[in-house]
Structure formats: C-alpha cells, structure tokens
C-alpha cells in the first residue's frame, strides 16, 4: 500500500467517524514521520476537500461529490473500484502492438539486408539480361508501415476519447455509482436530485424508494456493456493489425521470390 492509498483509507474512516479529515491526515503525517500528506492537509484545512482528495489520487467525480457530502467517499468507492477501466482495453492492445512492432522491426532489418546484399545482384542481372524491372523489398514497407502507424495513432486516440461508446458508458456508470453512494450515505434528497440532474441521460426520480438499487443495477449493466464494447473493439484492432503485418511480411517475401523466378537460367 502506498502512502496515497493509505491517505484515502484514512479519509474514508474520518468521514465515517464524522471527524475532520485534515486532522486525521495530520496525525498520519506524525505517525509516518514525514509530511507526505502536507499539501492535502493544507488544501483540506482551507475548505478545498475536492482538490485535497484529487491530490491523493481519488477519482475526480467522487472528489467532487465528496466536497458537498464527504460520507460518499466510503459508500461509493467499492462500486467505483469494481467498474472496469480503460486498462482492460490497454492490456490486450499493448500486447498486440508489441507483437506487431517487433515483427515490423524484423521485416525492416530483413528488407535492409535484402536491399544491401540481394538487390544489387538483381540490378546487375537486369543489366545483363536486359530485363525490365527490379523489385524493391521496401515497396511494401513504405506503404504499409505508415498505415500501421496511423492505425495505432487512431486506436490510441479512439481508446482515450471521451466520445468512445465504452468511455461514455463508464462515465455514466460512475455517475450512477456515486448517485447510489450518496443515497447510501444518506445525503439530502435535494443533493441527490442535483447530482442526478447533472447527467440528463440518467433519467431518475430522486423520490423513488428503490432508487439506490436501481442506480446500482443501471451501473452494472452499463459497465457490462462497456466491457463488451471494449472487448469487441480490441478484437477488431487485433484482427486489423495482424492482417496488416502479415500482408506486409508476405509482400516483402513475395517481391523477392517473384524476382528470383524471373531469372530461371541465372544459377
């Protein structure tokens, strides 16, 4: 457990015990023997709990809700922790990216060697035989490597874009979880209504008696949908990236073998 995680747990305990968060953090500083919570204590003491919580790594939406109703920290955190994150998309994509990058590097080295050792011989041959064309092993790489690069830039941009459907679902799910957390933390109805009104797509009546469970159910289905969409996106990217790198490799090889087949009597 790092010190910021320790600070978050201490803050949860403090708000549940209706104590001053800054005082608990200050005591933590004393126990740790160094002022690791120093800036957070200063911010919390000046009434900026939201910034203090963000300083120790709390989710920004949760920090915002905690500014008005601190007890939500403890009731919403487990739900937020359980939500899938973009990391579940990053892991398979990074693996495929490493795979494609290594294969492209190998192809680049092979093409360089071919152009240094093999193509000069072909050039000589074409002069001798008055044949028309000499294949270029870089032809495929020149076209497909920028295409691969563009694909990965597009993928990274899309994965991080707030307009991507899964990020939208996750943001909505987090909003619903915090809404349910506010209800569980017995926040005033007006506060809950205000929180829910910030997200017009979450149509909810704050006077509904089962609202907390309904919000949790909505969050679960949204997070499941986000996870399914992320998986589908990862599968699509994996297919496209592997197809590109395979076509590239086959193109380099075939251009050389095709050239060789033009000189049947050369050996």
């Amino acid at each position: 457990m790092n010190t910021k995680e320790l600070g978050r747990l201490v803050a949860e305990g403090a708000v549940l015990g209706e104590r001053n968060v800054a005082a608990d953090w200050a005591e933590l500083n004393v126990l740790l023997g160094r002022p690791v919570m120093g800036p957070a204590v200063t911010l919390a003491n000046s009434g900026r709990l939201e910034q203090a919580l963000r300083f120790i790594g709390t989710d920004s939406r949760l920090a915002k809700a905690a500014q008005t109703w601190p007890r939500v920290l403890a009731s919403a955190r487990p739900g937020l922790d359980a939500l899938p994150t973009r990391r579940s998309l990053a892991v398979p994509l990074f693996t495929v990216a490493v795979y494609c990058a290594l294969l492209s590097l190998v192809q680049l080295v092979a093409a360089t060697l071919l152009s240094l050792k093999v193509v000069p011989v072909f050039v000589q041959m074409s002069v001798d035989f008055h044949s028309a064309q000499v294949s270029d092993p870089f032809e495929a790489l020149r076209l497909l490597m920028p295409l691969q690069l563009m694909l990965w830039v597009l993928v990274v941009w899309l994965a991080r874009s707030p307009r991507a459907s899964w990020n939208d679902d996750l943001a909505l799910a987090a909003h619903a979880v915090i809404g349910a957390g506010l209800l569980e933390a017995k926040a005033p109805r007006a506060l809950v209504a205000g929180w829910l009104a910030e997200e017009p797509r979450l149509v909810a009546d704050s006077s509904h008696v089962e609202l907390r469970d309904d919000l949790r159910a909505v969050a679960t289905s949204l997070s499941n949908r986000a996870e399914a969409r992320m998986k589908r996106f990862a599968v699509g990217v994996r297919f496209a990236a592997l197809a590109l790198v395979t076509v590239q490799g086959l193109w380099v090889l075939s251009s050389i073998y095709r050239q060789l087949s033009l000189f049947p009597g050369a050996l």
Partner: protein, 295 residues
C-alpha cells in the same frame, strides 16, 4: 490444492450462503450439503465442522474452512460469500504465481543453455583461427576467451542456481497473491470477532503463532498497512478497520493479478516473435545463398 477441490469448496460455501440467506441454521445447512457430497477431503472437513458445531465448540482449527464453519450461525450469508470469493481469488492468484514462475524459468533456462552452447562452440571455432595468426592475442581477446572457458563450467552451475532461486521465489509481489490471501484472512478475522471471539482467539484462527494481526507472518502486511490497522483500529474499531483494509487489498490484488496475466502474455508474445524471427530467418537465408551464387 487442485482447481477442482477449490471449485467444490467455493460451490459449497455459496450453497451454504444461499441457505443461510433463506434463514436456515448453519448446522442444518451443513447436513443438507453433506448429503450431496461424495467421499472426499472436503466432506471430511465439513463433517469436522459439523461435529464441532454439535459439540458447541468454537474450536480453533488449522483449517480455515473448518474454523469458519465451526462458528455456526455467527456466519452470515454475506460473510460466507466473502470467504468463498477470497478463496477463489487466492487460488487464482496462486495459479498466476505458478504461471509466472514457469514462463520465467523457461526463459532463463533457454538463455543459459544458449550461453552454455556458445561457451563451448566459440572457443572451439575461434582458437584455431587465432592460433594461425602466429602472434600473441590482444589482452581483450584473451580475456574474452578465458571468460568463455570459465562459462563452460559456470553456465551450467548458474542454470542450476537460477532454477533453484526461481523455484523458491513466490513472485507474490507481482501476482497479487499476497494481497488476495491477506484480504481473505482479514475477513476471516473480522467475522470471527463479530461472532464474539476474543481478539487473540480470532488471530489464532488465521495464524497460530501470531499474537496480533500486525505481527502475523501469514497475513504479511506491509508497513503502511500495519500503520493503517493501528491508526484505524483505535479510531473506528478493529472490525471496521480490517474490513476496509480487506476491501482495499482485494481491489489491489485483482489489479495485480490482471497485470501479472498481462506480463505473462507479453513474455509469450516476445517468445512467439523470436520463433517467427527464426522462421523468417530460415526463409531469407536461401535468398542470400542464391544471390551469392549468381555471378
């Protein structure tokens, strides 16, 4: 434990939780579940727990499952579900540890075998070549040849030592096993306290040799976790502090378990690429030979 025995244990715990949720006393629920089980180590454990219950003992047991169930109706449905989750996750984490050990062991073996092969092959090829120069070799070359000769003995020894270290290392820091196991143990401890056991008796349930949670080697809390437990126990109460720490460890353990699966996948990817490089190399080499033959 095998995946089947852990799966059976988790299934039984979830069945018991469902029956407790339907307000069955744990003794009756145990009897019902025992009726469906074939002869197995799990049945023996459950029978022991049932015997403890009938004797009215909150007996400490070396087995966590027996110790948990022996607390009878003090076990709520939720706490049984939590114990099931913890055991399932801890088993998954242990498997992740094993996977990491296997992959890393394989890579180290491969690398050291290659070094051994080079140590034997290079001096055999280079020494006659250098001897034909008829002059004393530069110190750097002599040093390189000397190192290669030393590696002929050293590399196999290094291989044995590396494999011994890998076998002994638990990779718990990387796989999340420590966090998930500790989360489960903290829940056990907290539910024992809620069931009315004394602090010392509850600690003995999870670690017979420890006098407190903070000093338990089985729980293996790090400095900040021990600090939190000390601070929060005095302010919020011991069970609340343990529950909150367990919840944090569960989240962290899940993250680490996912990350370790990713690392293993990445190592697998690199191995696959190395294989593909070999294949590509094998396909390109004839082209160079052919090009060399064209005159």
């Amino acid at each position: 434990m095998t995946s089947q025995s852990v799966g059976d244990e988790v299934l039984v715990l979830r069945q018991l939780a469902a029956l407790r949720r339907a307000n069955w006393p744990l003794g009756d629920a145990l009897g019902f579940v025992l009726g469906d089980l074939g002869e197995s180590a799990l049945k023996t454990k459950l029978s022991n727990a049932q015997a403890n219950l009938q004797a009215g003992e909150h007996a400490a047991s070396a087995d966590v499952l027996v110790a948990t169930l022996s607390r009878g109706d003090a076990n709520s449905a939720d706490s049984l579900e939590l114990v099931a989750d913890a055991r399932e996750l801890a088993f998954e984490a242990a498997q992740a540890t094993r996977r990491m050990r296997t992959v890393i062991g394989f890579l180290v073996t491969l690398a050291l075998l290659q070094i051994t092969a080079l140590a034997f092959r290079l001096p055999a090829v280079l020494a006659p070549l250098f001897a034909s120069f008829g002059q004393e070799l530069p110190p750097a070359t002599q040093l390189a040849l000397g190192t290669l000769k030393a590696l002929q003995v050293g590399a196999p020894v290094m291989l044995v030592v590396a494999l011994a270290i890998i076998t002994k290392t638990r990779f718990r820091r990387w796989s999340g096993e420590r966090e998930l196991t500790s989360a489960g143990l903290l829940w056990q401890w907290s539910s024992a306290l809620k069931a009315g056991l004394s602090d010392a008796a509850a600690v003995r349930l999870i670690d017979a040799r420890a006098s407190s949670l903070q000093t338990s080697d089985t729980l293996a809390l790090d400095l900040n976790e021990r600090l939190y437990l000390t601070l929060a126990s005095t302010r919020d109460g011991a069970t609340q502090a343990a529950d909150r720490l367990a919840s944090h460890l569960l989240t962290r353990g899940r993250e680490l378990a996912q990350r370790s699966r990713w690392v293993v996948a990445l190592i697998g990817t690199v191995l696959t690429v190395l294989f593909v490089i070999n294949v590509l190399g094998a396909m390109y080499l004839p082209i160079f030979s052919i090009a060399g033959a064209i005159k």
